[in-house]
Point group: D3
C-alpha cells in the first residue's frame, strides 16, 4: 500500500470507515468480538498476511510439530513482510491460544504493523505492555496445539466473521478492526478523511451545546457555511 | 421522580437494590451483559425514556433515513427530558452500533442522566472520556443502519433481558444497571438506604476481622447493639 | 501443599503451566471465561476448597436460608483453610452473583489464598480494590438466591468447564486460572520452573532482535550454549 | 392481499422467495431458527398480524392478568383477521411458551392462515395434529407468564431476527418462513412463479442425469430452448 | 410415591403441571432443551435417582475406569430402583454421550421408569425403538469418557437448568420433562387432574367454534354451568 | 479406499467408531451439531472431497458469480469423484444455505457417497426424499450468496468442529458423522468390526435380562466363553 493511504488511514477511526464502506454497499467488514489488548498502542494500518487454522488432531499437533521449519505459524512469523498485519483465522475459538508473547514480540521486532486473531493470545499481560497493536477475543493461556492446527499461509480466511483476503488493508484503533478490500483502499481512505473532518466539526458543535437538528445530517445551509469556515480555519 | 428519591438512589449500589427488590418478589431487574464504559462516571439515576429497534431492512435503513426529522433515534435524542435516562432496546445485538459519540455527547449536553443499550456504542473511546454514565454490551464500530431499524419512542421495551417501562427508574453504578418499577421507587429507595447502612456496618466489622457468624445475617443480639451504636456514631 | 511447591508455582505463569500439563496429556485444565477482577492482585496459589451450587428453587432459596448456620456458602467461608482457594461451581451462570464483597473480604481476612467462580461476583468494584486474587466471569449484582442453591462443600466440581477436585492446586495470574492435579503438583512445579527459565531466555533473545528459527524450539546447538551461559549468569 | 398473489405464493417455496428477494437487495427476510410443528400442514400465506412481548414482571404477569379482556394475547387471538398470520415477537426466547393448544385451535377455527413465534409453543403434540401451519423454535411447556409480558398488538416487531411490519406477507412451507414487504408482494409473487418454473425444469434435467454446466445458471442456449419447450409442454 | 399419585400424573401433561406449579410460585421446573427420543414411548412418571458428572480428566477417564465395580455410572444402572427415573447431570454438554443403548436397555429391563440427561445419548437410533421413555438434548455418538467424569450418585443435581433432588417426581410426555418437589407431588397431582378437566372442556368448546372470551379464563357463569354438566357427563 | 474397508465401515456405527478412535487417542472426530436429513438413507462411507467457504462479500458474491465456470461450489459438484463424500466447511453458520436440492441431486446422480455441511441445506424437504445421505445443522432457505463465499476445493477444512483432510474417510449413520484419518482407516475398520461383534453380543445379553456386571466390560470369564460360542453360532 502506498504511504499516502497508510497515513490517511492512520488518522481516521474504525467507526468512520464502516460508514464509508456502508455507502459502498459493504455491511460486514468490522471484526466481531475482537478487541485491543493495549488500547494505548499505536493505530494499526497494513495489508493482511494470513494464517489459517483448523481444529487440532492429536496425532499431528504435538510439540514435535514445531521442529518442522515449515510449520505455518512459525514460518509465517518469520516471513510476514514488514508493515503487514498478521491475521489469524482461529475459527472464533479462544479456548486455546492462537499465539503468545514470544511470537508477538518477534513480529513486532520484525516490523509488522500488528497482529489480529478471533481467538485469544496467551502471555496477554506481557503483550499488553508492548507498544504494538494486538487484537483478540479474550486472554487464553492454553498452548495452541490443544485446539488449533495451523493449515496454511496467505489464503483468504474468515476472522471475526469477516472475509479477509491477503493484501486487504487492516485498520485498527482502540475500538476494533475494520478490513478494507485492497482495490478500494485508496478511495476509502480519501473519503474517510473527508468524513472525519465533517464528524469532527459536528462533534465540536454538539460539544458546544448545539442541536443535531439540521447539523447531523447537515441539512441546514447555515451549518454548511460554518463547516466551510471551520475547514479553512483548521486547514482540513 | 422527586429529588429525595434521586438523592437516596445515588447513594446505594445496584447490588443492594437487587436485594431490596428480591424481598418484594422481583427476580429479574438487573440488566444482563450491560456494563459501564467509564466506571468513574457519576452514578446514574433517572426515569427511563425508551427507544425501540427492530432488525434493519435494506430498503428503509439507508443514510437518507436520517433526513426525516421524525427519525426516532434523532428525535429521541433531542426530546429526552433532562434528568432522564435514554434506554435503547437493541435486542441484545452488538454487531452494529446503537449510537455513537455525537449523539451521546448531545444527550449529555442536554442534561440527560445517562444512556443505556443492550447492544454497543461506536466511538467508544471518546464516550469513555465523557463524565457521563453510558452502559452497553461491547464496543461496536459499524453504523447502526446495518442492523437496527429505529421503530418508536417511549413504549415498554426489553433491555438486557429486563422489562423497562417508560418512567421506571434506572440506577447505574460501576457494576451495572438496575430498573425499579416507577410506583415503588420511593419505597425501594428508603429501604435501600437502610440496607446500605446495615451492609456498611457488616463490611466494617468483617474488614476488622470479625466472623460473619451471627453478623450476616445479624442473628446475634450483641451485633444488633453494636450496629445501633455505629448508626448513632456515623449519623446514619 | 509444601512451601517449596507454593513458592515455585508463584513464580510461573498460567500459560507455562498449561504447556507442562499438555506434555503430560492434560488438555483441559485452564478455566474458560474466568478472569481476574484485579490484575494487580498477588499471584494466587493454593489447594482447592470447593462449593457446589445447583439452580435455585423458590421454596428453599429465600433470605431465611441464611439463618441456617450450616448453609454451605456461609459455612464454607468460615471453614475454608488458610492458604486454600475457595472455588465455586456456579454452572457457568453469571446472571446472579456467586458471592459478594462481604464474603470475599471475610475470606481474605481469614487468610484464604483466593476465590474463583465461573459465575460472577457482586460488589465487584469493592472486590477490585482488595489485594486479594478473585476470579469470575463477569460482574453480577443480583443476589445469589435468585439463581443458585448452595448444595454442598468439598466435593469434586466443574468450574469454567474444568474438573476441580478438593485439594487440587489452583494457580492464578493476570491471565487466568489453571488447575494442577494434587498428585503431580510438585513435579509440575519443578518442570515449570525449568520451562520458565527457557522461555525467559528465548523472550530475551527475541526482544533483542534474534530470529525464532533454531531458537524456539531450540534446535540450534549454539542457542543451547547461549542458554547455558544465560542460566549461569542469572543464577537460574 | 389479493387472491392472485395468495395463490401464486402458495405455489412457490421459501427458498425460491429468498432468491427473488436477494435480487432486490434483501438479505435478511427468512426467520432464523423457526420451524414447522407439522411439516404436512398446508402451505402458509397471509398478511402479518403482530403481537409483541417484553420480559415478564412478577407483579404484572400473574394468572389474573387474563381477567383483563384487553390482555393483548387474548384480544389478538379474537381479533386477528381471517386469512392473516398471527406473528409473535418472543425475543427468540423459548424457555416458556408463547401460546398453547387452546389459542392455536381458536385461531385455526377463526380462519387465520397460520401462527408463528420465535419462542416455543406448549401443547405441541396437539398442535402437531392440527391441519394448521404453526412455526416455532422448540416445544416449551411452561406457561408464558413466567417469561413473557404481552405488550401490544400490530406494531412492527422482530421475529427470528427479521423485521416484520403488520401487513407484510408471511409465507411458510416445510422448511420455514419468509417475510415479503407488503408493497412488493405482488411483484415478488410474479417473479417467484417464473423462478420456480426455471428451477423445476433444471431439477428435472439434473434428476435425469444432465450436468449443471450451462444449465444452472442457464448459459447454454440449447438449454434455453429446451426450457421454452418444457414450459409449453407443461403449460407454465 | 404412591400409586394414586403415579396414576394421576400419568394422565396430565407437562404443560398443565407447569401451570399448577406456577400457581405455587415455582417458575423453573421444566427441563430446558431436553426432548424425547421416542415421542410414542409411554408417559414417564417416577422418583429421581441421580447421577452427577463433572468434566473428564485424561488420567482418570480411560476405558479401564469401567473395571471398577463402583464406577458410578455402571453402579447406578444396576442399583436404580424399579419405578425410578435415572437422571443425569451432564452440565448441558452433548458433545459426548451421557450413556448408550446397552445401559438404557439394562435400565428398561430392570424396570426403571425412564432416563433423562441434559446431554446426549449414543446409539440413539436403537433407543428410539425402545418402548421406554428417554430424554436428551441431541444425539451424541462419542464415548462419554471424552467429556464426562461420573462423580457420584443420588445427590441433588442440575439437569436442563433445573434443580433435581433425589426423590423428586419426574414427569415426562411428548413435549418434555417437569420436576415436582417430592413433598408436594400428591397435592400437585390432585390439582393437575382438576386443571386437566378444565382445559379439556375449554379445548372441546374452542374446537367446536366458541370464543375464548368468558371461557378462558372462565369468567362467564354460563360456561361454568356448561363445565359442570360436561364433568357429570364425562365422569370427571 | 479399498472395497473391504468400505464394506466393513458400512456395517459399524458412528458410536462404535468413536470408541475405536478414542482407544487410539482421538477425542474429536465426531461432527458436532450435524444430523441426517433422511435417517432412512443408506449408510454413508467415502473419502472426503472438501469445499471451503469464508464469509460472503457483497461485491464478490452476486448471482453473476455463478457464471464463472470455476466457481468452486459448482466446479466441485461436477468434479467430486464417484464414491466420495462432498464435505463443506460452512463455519458452523446455518443462517444461509450451503447448497440446495439441485446440487445435491446432481451429486447423487454423479455417484457421490453423500454430502455434509456444518451449515444448512435449502430445499430440505426435497433432499429428505432422496435415497442419498445428506447431513447438516438445520434447514436454511436463504441463498448461500448472502453469507458464504466459496473459497477453494480440496484443502483441509473444519466441519462441525472437527478437522477434515481431503481423503479422510467419512462415515455417517442415523446418528451423525465420524471422520477417520486416511492412514488408519483400514485398521480402524477391522477393529470396529470386532468391537461391533462384542457390543452386539452384550446388547443381546442385556436385552435378555442379564446384568452388565462382569459383562460390560467383560471381566467375567463365563461371559467370555458365552461370547466365543455366540461368535461361532452367528459366524462373526
Amino acid at each position: 500500500m502506498n504511504q499516502d493511504t497508510r497515513r490517511k488511514l492512520a488518522g481516521v477511526s474504525a467507526a468512520t470507515l464502516t460508514t464509508v464502506l456502508f455507502k459502498r454497499g459493504f455491511r460486514n467488514l468490522f471484526l466481531q468480538d475482537v478487541r485491543p489488548l493495549n488500547p494505548n498502542a499505536p493505530r494499526m494500518v497494513g495489508p493482511a498476511y494470513t494464517l489459517r487454522t483448523i481444529p487440532a488432531r492429536e496425532d499431528l499437533d504435538r510439540l514435535e510439530a514445531y521442529l518442522d521449519p515449515d510449520h505455518p505459524q512459525r514460518k509465517g512469523v518469520e516471513e510476514c513482510p514488514p508493515g503487514a498485519v498478521f491475521v489469524i483465522d482461529s475459527r472464533g475459538d479462544a479456548r486455546a491460544a492462537s499465539a503468545g508473547g514470544i511470537l508477538v514480540t518477534r513480529l513486532h521486532r520484525r516490523g509488522a504493523a500488528g497482529i489480529v486473531t478471533d481467538g485469544g493470545f496467551r502471555d496477554s499481560p506481557e503483550i499488553m505492555e508492548l507498544p504494538f497493536p494486538a487484537y483478540h477475543q479474550r486472554a487464553s493461556a492454553p498452548t495452541n496445539l490443544i485446539l488449533h492446527h495451523c493449515a496454511d499461509l496467505n489464503l483468504p480466511i474468515a476472522c471475526g466473521g469477516v472475509p479477509v483476503f491477503p493484501g486487504d488493508i487492516m485498520v485498527g484503533d482502540a475500538e476494533g478492526v475494520v478490513v478494507i478490500p485492497a482495490d478500494i483502499a485508496q478511495a476509502v481512505a480519501d473519503e474517510a478523511v473527508e468524513q472525519t473532518a465533517l464528524e469532527d466539526f459536528v462533534q465540536s458543535r454538539v460539544a458546544a451545546g448545539h442541536t443535531i437538528r439540521g447539523l447531523y445530517p447537515m441539512t441546514d445551509a447555515a451549518n454548511c457555511s460554518l463547516f466551510e469556515a471551520w475547514r479553512r480555519e483548521h486547514g482540513r
